[in-house]
Symmetry: C2
Subunit: 633 residues, 2 copies
């Protein structure tokens, strides 16, 4: 590519050598002397590596540390202790080991639960509940010769047969197991994945990529009609940071790395991606790319489409990857956007170059109490308009405010609870806030201390214009801390006849209030019509702000005692809620994705021509539907 320099001259030679060095440097993997992390060679025969030696959260046999029929770690759950108090077991979380004195009453008041009426889960998976695997012998034979670890153990297969939709967990708790993968395979690196995909194409085996397993769109469900052997391609062992580029503030990772490991490892070098989805303990980089994930602090760090510099994906047609690491390009339609959102239907994302940032110098939480939800939304809208949103700003409705109170741990100090009471008195009696209307926004600021304090002032000043009252850092911090334990609460509910789900949307600003009110009303009405005996919980929060709208997150839960087919009732209400969202101008999803759960609305969302485009890409990339999770289309 360099031109032939005619003539001699030491000057020209020097320049030519310099340029050759530069070009060669460009072709080399940019391992810098300052890079602290160097990847070990990928060994296909890698024996069982344990968590500590690799700094990895997720072992191959996930069921060793995670629940097979519920959320999260096995050692962590909500339960009622011998005294009848709600307790959060384990040692992993700030809340672990604490009592929540108000939770029992809240459950009883909100759902009409009765601790005497239990609906416990099937504790152990019985192997007989699992169909024997349908193995494609030719595929397995060739797989053996690659040395890539695999299993057709019932427990391994069941673990990867589902995400965390209500109906999936409900079924598992009943010990019911539907179509599951026939085989689980654990590639260690990109080349392993290439080999697996080649074999799958050769032997017509259905591949379902499995990252964190946190899908709430039925994305991981095995299509019951699938007659071919289904192989779950588990990316968790393919999780190294391959390089960190401090000059360009980028890092290159294998796509199986999960959020908590990625941040922890980058933090060791003083960096972060800042991508913190609520699922980050378990969800993977590849999964974020495949589902267009959004993180709590997107106001600073961006959503996944803002973070990604380059993606590598293995498809039946070969590997897709741009040639350039440039920050922004005009080279036809952006193929990254053919990959992002493909939800496992086109291939396996194996490696990603992402932006990184220096860790923030300073973090400060905050909270604001508003007299009502309308004022809170108006405040969020103004904050968005002035483009001064903190790293995170979330506005919960009154129901969630009360729910948050129910999760307050028992405090050791009489003084602290006295202060709490004082605060409540101040807000309700002194300032005249109605405890049945008020709502709370939680805030997180990050950055240089001076700028944070300035920023904080600006936001609180705006809040005051909308009747907002600063309510302290600890309320804010607790709000965010609860983020990671909320998911465990559903399992507690399900022990007492309460089922529920979260769902989300994005919507223009002028529709936010309508959507919040109308969807909640719709849920309540639908439950009533379908014979749900106790009023459901229907709650929402505005969880992200944008220039032209917001992300709204709903919780929906009800006591199903007396219903013969509670999951069916749940599904109908959930369906009606989504119809209501769409009718009110909300999107099909802000970040959870479509999966199989929301396929029926895809055509309406993207138009016939859009569907045709997506299908044309699928038909080209994967004509035999090797990546047969049947999401999206």
């Amino acid at each position: 590519m360099a031109s032939n320099s005619s003539g001699g001259g030491s000057d020209r030679q020097r320049i030519a050598q310099q340029r050759l060095r530069i070009i060669a440097g460009h072709l080399r993997r940019p391992v810098d002397v300052d890079s602290t992390i160097l990847a070990a060679e990928c060994k296909a025969q890698d024996s069982k590596t344990d968590v500590s030696s690799e700094g990895k959260t997720v072992p191959r046999r996930r069921q060793e540390i995670m629940k097979w029929n519920g959320w999260g770690y096995s050692d962590t759950k909500f339960l009622f202790n011998k005294k009848g108090q709600a307790e959060f077991t384990g040692k992993r979380y700030k809340l672990s080991g604490m009592i929540m004195p108000a939770l029992k009453d809240w459950l009883e008041d909100t759902f009409g639960t009765n601790l005497q009426h239990k609906s416990p889960a099937t504790p152990i998976l019985t192997s007989s509940a699992v169909q024997p695997p349908t193995l494609n012998e030719a595929f397995v034979e060739e797989l053996k010769s690659t040395g890539i670890p695999f299993s057709h153990d019932a427990e391994d297969r069941v673990f990867r047969a589902h995400g965390h939709c209500l109906h999936e967990i409900f079924a598992l708790r009943e010990g019911k197991v539907g179509r599951v993968p026939d085989l689980v395979v654990w590639p260690n690196c990109h080349n392993d994945v290439v080999r697996i995909v080649e074999l799958a194409c050769k032997h017509n085996v259905c591949l379902i990529p499995y990252g964190g397993g946190t899908s709430v769109s039925s994305g991981l469900e095995c299509p019951p009609e699938e007659t071919r052997s289904i192989v779950s391609l588990d990316t968790s062992q393919m999780s190294r940071i391959l390089w960190i580029d401090e000059k360009n503030l980028t890092a290159h990772m294998e796509a199986g790395i999960v959020g908590q490991d990625l941040e922890r490892l980058l933090n060791e070098s003083g960096y972060c991606t800042g991508h913190e989805p609520d699922s980050m303990e378990f969800s993977s980089l590849g999964g974020w790319v495949a589902t267009r994930a959004s993180g709590m602090k997107k106001n600073i760090y961006g959503n996944i489409e803002d973070l990604v510099i380059r993606v590598k994906m293995v498809t039946p047609q070969g590997v897709i990857e741009k040639s350039c690491l440039g920050p922004r390009m005009s080279t036809g339609p952006d193929i990254h956007h053919f990959i992002m959102g493909s939800e496992g239907t086109l291939g396996v994302v194996t490696e990603v170059t992402m932006k990184i940032r220096p860790m923030p110098e300073y973090q400060k939480y905050g909270s604001v109490v508003f007299p009502n939800f309308e004022q809170g939304v108006a405040c969020l809208r103004e904050v968005a308009k002035q483009r001064c949103a903190p790293a995170s700003i979330r506005l919960m409705d009154n129901e969630q405010f009360k729910f948050g109170h129910a999760l307050k741990p028992q405090v050791s100090s009489m003084f602290t609870s006295f202060l709490d009471g004082l605060k409540t008195f101040y807000i309700t009696k002194f300032k005249g806030f109605d405890p049945n209307c008020l709502c709370v926004a939680t805030l997180l600021f990050e950055g240089h201390r001076e700028k944070v304090l300035q920023h904080e002032k600006q936001v609180y000043d705006i809040a005051a214009q909308f009747g907002g009252l600063a309510a302290g850092e600890d309320n804010g911090q607790r709000g965010y801390m609860l983020t990671f334990v909320i998911a465990y609460l559903r399992d507690l509910g399900m022990d007492y006849y309460v089922i529920g789900e979260s769902f989300e949307t994005s919507v223009p600003w002028d529709r936010v209030l309508d959507i919040c009110r109308n969807v909640k009303l719709r849920i309540i009405q639908e439950c009533k019509d379908k014979g749900v005996q106790f009023q459901p919980l229907a709650s929402c929060r505005a969880t992200q702000t944008y220039d032209s709208g917001a992300c709204v997150y709903f919780y929906f839960a009800f006591n199903y005692r007396g219903l013969s087919d509670p999951v069916h009732v749940f599904e109908e209400v959930e369906h009606a809620a989504r119809e209501e969202i769409l009718a009110n101008g909300g999107s099909l999803s802000h970040h959870h994705g479509v999966g199989k759960l929301r396929k029926e609305w895809m055509r309406e969302a993207v138009s016939n021509v859009g569907m045709g485009m997506l299908k044309s890409v699928k038909d080209y990339v994967d004509p035999n539907n090797i990546f047969g999770n049947r999401n999206l289309l």
Copy 2:
């Protein structure tokens, strides 16, 4: 979609009516009482509407106000007056009517030009140079019955047969005309476009959408091998703002609106998009979407992909449009990104909903002189790292600094030029800056006055860390003002045997210096090897900053006297420059796009699978290649 509410009750009726009103409101076009602009009905038989009555810049017969063989307005050009001084004619620009005393010498020193040696353009297009149109009679007959205005006038056809690549303008100046459209059609609205596309599909006519005509990627060139009738679909008369939504800060426009009209019309309501590509006087919204345009102030307003809320495009398969106006979604791969960058190969963009912002309260220009380019780049990199870039920050190299001086208008005041001289003395003699090394960054800040001043201080403080010296607002302002007149300069050059082009790339931070140095060296070497008799101008500037890299813009020009085939030499050097860019880690394009000029590198840019995806979409959307400009693939 709303559930059947069983039972009566005035409360329920009231709620139901409320919800119905809301849903109906969602379906209505959101014309608010506060919206100041309401679109008139689209009349297919609309007679010639002139510029002033519609607020439109671009008349149907563009040649009435624009050059047929050069850049921009007919009444504006650089020339040498009777005194041999360079003058900028007309009244449209700040620089209009001014003398540039230093320009003549700069041209002579830089290119070895001689005002005695002229290479003037062919002043008038001779109709005989234009082949008679190949009309598809059946198509024309049906077109007539639609009432949509059209022409097969030679001047109209030639005008739309090209963009502004050097080889295109050079040929026109020689009076040479290649393949041109056979017909020009001017739809007035989306429905007109639907009709035209239907007819084109029915009669197998090639459609080439034509927006601003400012393509520099050979995107508008008619493929010479095209045997079907070529119809240029000129969007300029389809240019209304249909509504402004002040609640959501969005606006909905017809895609033929050009940048200067869009901003001017929005300004009347106190808003702006803030999208200001250098071509904004003439380039259109539809063109920006089709080519993934970038604007000068993207640091505040974003690039086109950040600005677009919803796009509507007419394709042979039908109309593609999302159903929702939500700010950010996860509904599979983002179909907007199948449209953006499609460069006229899939359909015609007819309407776009974009974000708008309140006009900034305050604007302040600035400039910084650096001792050398390396320090300047390091400063830009630090500004990007601290995420405190102004609305615009551009760093030009020493060659462009000198070029900028050559364009200084004669000042009326002795005092002002004395001040200038004083400034030069201070910078060079007092501070020790070498006038052959120093370079200048121009800055633009926008926003609340207080914030701007704070921001400004932060940036100048960083600049000082890299040896940068504040050099005043007027130098900054002049730098930006020159943006719109630079394009006229090429025509002057071409009057004196100088041909040239700009080209651009995006590149990671650690490659910026290498790419700047290597590409300039390569250009100089290639010119020498190919017998160019005078050293070429090879100059660059870093024109946008991002987290992980920058946009670099090159100027390349040379005196071609003595060359028998100057355009061929030019093309070879341009090609080599792009090879050098790619070898040094730069992208194929940051914002100019691919067109036909850079097709050969597409496969390398997006990989085989990426090409396959793009082709599969093309084959589905446009199986008969109705949109046959043959860009990209």
